[in-house]
Amino acid sequence: MLRTFSVVLALLLLSLPARAAEEWGIDHEKKARIEAKVVDILCELSGDCPKNCGGGKRQLGLLRDDGKLVLAIKNFDPFAGAVVDLIDFCNRRITADGLYIANPKLPMFVLQFKRLAPDGKWSRANWFVKRWAEAHGAKNKGKWFRHDPAITRAIAEDGVFGIPGLKPPKDD
């Protein structure tokens, strides 16, 4: 009986998608898996096309087969976008798994997993922090945003509120 249950459970697990997006509770969100070409958005719009989609300095999108351009706004890391996860796939087709947020103010895609289409190896969309840790040391990667030198410098110059000299009140 136990063996039967184990086999059924294993089959059920195998029948699930290799990777599955998780809900974040954002208004208008819907789990989505799309196959699309990774594009440099500015190149797609204007014809200004540097090598390698701008080498990580430009915003990237997902160009679907129906011609719809989807803005990839976020990856799976805290406070990080999707550029680092997508740049290695510049002008190639991927399967993107995540959340499509059909907000009428701004439709956008949250990338949670990706793979080279049609059957590449899945990887979680968390390469921003991986690359950050490679560049700055892995010790502080959990709160990379508290330890990044550019951020530390910006907050030191302008303060936490963006106005030099304006400081939060001290607790009594």
């Binding site: 974040w24 954002i26 208004d27 958005i41 500015l42 797609e44 719009l45 204007s46 014809g47 096309c49 701008g54 990580g56 300095k57 430009r58 915003q59 719809k68 351009l69 989807v70 803005l71 706004i73 976020k74 890391d77 406070f79 990080a80 976008g81 999707a82 550029v83 680092v84 947020i101 907000n103 009428p104 103010k105 701004l106 439709p107 956008m108 921003f128 945003f145 990044d148 550019a150 951020i151 910006a154 907050i155 302008d158 936490v160 509120f161 963006g162 106005i163 304006l166 939060p168």
Partner: protein
């Protein structure tokens, strides 16, 4: 040899022409508003405007999340380029987070998204949206 060279040139010209033909015609615009972290503002995952959210906006700009200008109607214009520089990992973009600006640029609209190539930041009033007294420091209070 000459034939090969001609063929290569023809192919290059065709490719360039095809790319240009696909490009869209932008509209010259002037946009005024606050520089915002697009994700936090649109998702409403936290309060995403002004001084209360400035630190988080800096985190997200360094993290490569698209930065926008939010105008008085609440519409956002994703910045794809700013004064001839790309926006990701750009210290200028980090520096102007939460600032009230007026920018001239080229507007592209595609599939429900407004994309802006900022040719000039004509006016920068700095951070003027004082939201921290009501909302504290977003998202962690420090």
């Amino acid at each position: 040899m000459l034939r090969v060279v001609m063929a290569v040139l023809a192919l290059a010209w065709t490719a360039a022409f095809a790319q240009a033909a696909l490009a869209e015609t932008p509209k010259r615009v002037t946009v005024s508003g606050e520089i915002v972290d697009t994700w936090c503002y649109i998702s409403e995952i936290m309060y995403g405007e002004g001084t209360a959210h400035h630190q988080c906006a800096v985190w997200c700009a360094v993290g490569g999340i698209p930065v926008s200008i939010k105008d008085a109607n609440g519409d956002v214009f994703i910045i794809l380029r700013i004064e001839d520089r790309d926006p990701v990992d750009n210290p200028r973009v980090v520096k102007i987070q939460s600032h009230q600006v007026t920018a001239h640029g080229d507007l592209y609209e595609r599939d429900g998204v407004r994309y802006l190539v900022v040719t000039q930041v004509a006016d920068d009033k700095g951070v003027v949206n004082l939201t921290h007294e009501e909302y504290g420091i977003q998202p962690f209070g420090e």
